[in-house]
Subunit: 479 residues, 2 copies
């Protein structure tokens, strides 16, 4: 019985022994009151040191699985394990519509999956090989030495104070007025957007956004039961005429925009349009949620201030920031900059959802940012991504017969084909080892059948060329 | 204008200079086309190295704030910042009932606040001085060296695979059958519970739980619009008679229990009662959410298996685990063990909420746990907390005139007074520098006015004695 134990190399032996005996007891193979072998005996059977067995027995005693009798040895405790009665619940009858919709709209589960050896243009995650792990390590060690074990205990729902201070300055440098504003740290953009919709909308409300727009945002809006009113995009942002038309015809509650390096088109909304959008929404008093997505990845042109900066001391814009498309998305840190009173509510909602964002991650991030590493990193990343972006555009022009190519930067390009279904193109490409994101998932009104998004951040130049060539050939065969 | 810059010691000078010039441009104090001082000139004005100025100018150029003309110098870009139009939104008219309720039920905002110098019995967070920071550091460095920068990029919604494997084994060691089960990593218990209610309930549904129970759970149930049906507690768990009565009189959708070191009473539900509860709920086919809270903090008695173990190969119990009351709550890692099909839905809901829990934190946690550190730590922590627990009980008996004292372990004791309002006691104690948690917040039906919870995990023995003495005196003056 004891000899059955299979030892692995990575776990201390006494823990494996403890776990094994624990299992024997729970399975009823060692019964209440039964005597265990002496530590000496078991050590010799298993060919381990006696100390190993003593350690294992001590833990089993601590955990209430065995008890010791002086001079007599170790015995199995009165662990009651005999009762077991199978009870099967049909969960499908319990799952509500929200969870069902979450699953249905979960593209990771339902879209074409990458297989080993394929070239994937699906991802717009950053290229991790650009991450400066050494500086990250330093920041960890630095924060641990400054904060000590405190940083591993509970923190504040609003966030890690030094990080909040840093971000205030960061936002101020972008031109945002921080008077009477506050910042809430979130688990990335996704949580930020979800918290805002949870707090400001009711089922059936109408929300206005660009069309196409970020597919995760569409998913979250739909999951909140909102009616999504999309406004067509032009080369320099939404069409102002169409925006005004939609505003006059609908009772809109909230609006959502990605003014810089818009996902999926990559369009940067011009300064003039930012002002027009702002003014148009002001007329109807419809607050703006601004997604700062990829704002940092500008490759050319003069600095463009976020819409948040237009409101001055006003409070009509809720800005959601995140570095996740550039830096360390795995640690899930983003933020919301908004009116102080609004943040007060969002903070309570955040607390009721998950108490707070990992203090450790916030502290490391703060240390990394405040040490000036971000500026160094972004310089390097911009250079690499800009080169790749230009190469991707060049390859697209050379190999892919398109109607229109969108995008001024970021980590992807967006292509509109002539009258060809991109999902059919994807099917053929898949056979040839290439995948990409069909553009229809970004549309609010089932259009975009002839569009596709090509993310290049994690694809080598060689593979970009190879992949685009194949995509181009598939399309040519369809014309 | 340039001389105004105030330099601090913690940020690289070129970044401070860049930020300063950026501000001047955004405030319109440096206008489009305006020439900046030469790098040599500015270096001499500011008494910094010329390289510092060159670095700052390079970044400003990168970010589109200035442009360089060969042989002529640096000029301000066409950054359009003139438009600003204050627009004030009355957010209070936009905040929905859910967010309002979140704020109202947020006890951190509305309960008596700790002030410097006070003795606080409010917290049941672990004592961070017990944390083994050195081992934590090692785990970080180890994981970073194994996983590299990959761990800082996006991960899986379900969680970090090695951690999931570890927890499967951990749950199996507790007696849970893992056949056809799966695990979802969450941001602690709070998120786990919220995800489950989000996926399985509708507004107006009835949920059954112990009364009193964990106040955060009550808050989340209420925020989901659920009707909370509480069942009175006895010394060994809920009253089975009352449970059966409530079950026969109500159409219950789900149930929630904290069988071990129940919050707030500290009661451990007996094995016999676990079986009776399980059987009673099986009759009505009402699934059980089991909160594994503090299960690890047993100080005496034989091992008691979780309710999850009673279902065998069945799937009727959803187990929520978290080490947060023992270890590293600041990193927010918990888990749900449940039916595979159910986890599939919960995973999609999790993805729609915040994509995934920090991969870095999960990886460090995994490394720490699998290295056997948890066993070492829990041994130390149990010893310290047990001693404190016994001391707290001793002091309570000595100084506080109570009707009943609850609890067999954990990080707190729960006291029922004779006919005295604990909030009035709190008011007086506050004046004397002592705070604690009034017990009414744990009740589902506005009872418990004469109860209080005393958390001792972060209070020294000296302060426990001092504090309990004062609480006792205040109560005596009220009798």
């Amino acid at each position: 019985m004891f000899i059955d134990i299979k030892l692995d190399k990575n776990t201390p032996v006494y823990i494996q022994l403890k776990d094994h005996i624990c299992e024997l007891i729970l399975r009823g193979m060692l019964r209440s009151g039964e005597k265990l072998p002496s530590t000496r005996e078991l050590a010799s059977i298993l060919n381990v040191s006696r100390n190993t067995v003593i350690n294992a027995y001590e833990f089993l005693q601590e955990e209430g699985f065995i008890y010791m009798e002086k001079g007599k040895g170790a015995f199995v405790s009165d662990v009651k394990v005999n009762f077991q009665e199978k009870w099967t619940v049909d969960w499908s009858s319990h799952i509500n519509n929200y969870a069902k919709a979450s699953e249905e709209l979960d593209i990771i589960k339902h879209e074409t999956k990458w297989k080993k050896g394929m070239i994937s243009f699906k991802s717009i995650a950053p290229d991790e090989s650009l991450f400066d792990v050494e500086e990250f390590k330093k920041s960890f060690l630095n924060r641990i030495s400054i904060e000590g074990e405190k940083i591993l205990n509970y923190g504040y729902a609003q966030g890690y104070k030094p990080l909040i201070e840093y971000l205030f300055k960061y936002m101020s440098n972008k031109g945002a007025n921080i008077e009477d504003k506050d910042i809430l740290i979130t688990n990335g953009f996704t949580e930020g957007f979800d918290l805002i919709l949870s707090s400001l909308t009711e089922k059936g409300d109408k929300i206005l956004c660009e069309n196409p727009t970020h597919n995760t945002a569409i998913k979250i809006m739909k999951l909140h039961g909102l009616e999504v009113v999309g406004v067509d995009m032009e080369d320099d942002g939404v069409s102002i005429d169409k925006l005004k038309e939609k505003l006059s015809k609908n009772k809109i509650k909230l609006s959502y925009f990605i003014p810089s390096y818009h996902n999926p088109t990559g369009v940067v909304m011009s300064v003039e349009k930012r002002v027009e959008v702002y003014k148009a929404l002001k007329v109807y008093n419809i607050p703006i949620i601004e997604d700062g997505f990829n704002e940092e990845l500008r490759y050319s042109g003069a600095h463009v201030s976020p819409i948040a900066s237009l409101s001055g001391e006003g409070n009509s814009v809720i800005y959601i920031g995140s570095f996740s498309k550039i830096l360390f998305p795995g640690i899930r840190v983003g933020w919301i900059l908004a009116d102080k009173k609004l943040i007060n509510y969002l903070e309570s909602v955040k607390r009721s959802r998950n108490i707070h964002t990992s203090s450790l991650d916030q502290a490391i991030f703060y240390d990394y940012l405040s040490g000036g590493n971000f500026e160094k990193y972004i310089k390097k990343a911009r250079k690499v991504y800009k080169e790749k972006y230009e190469f991707a555009v060049e390859c697209a022009k050379k190999y892919i017969p398109f109607n229109k190519l969108f995008g001024e930067g970021g980590l992807h390009i967006f292509i509109e084909l002539n009258d060809i279904k991109s999902r059919e193109v994807l099917e053929k490409c898949y056979e040839k080892g290439i995948i990409f994101t069909p553009g229809d998932i970004f549309y609010t009104d089932n259009r975009g059948y002839n569009t596709l998004r090509l993310g290049f951040s994690r694809v080598s130049k060689e593979d970009i060329e190879k992949g685009f060539k194949i995509i181009g050939e598939v399309i040519k065969n369809k014309i």
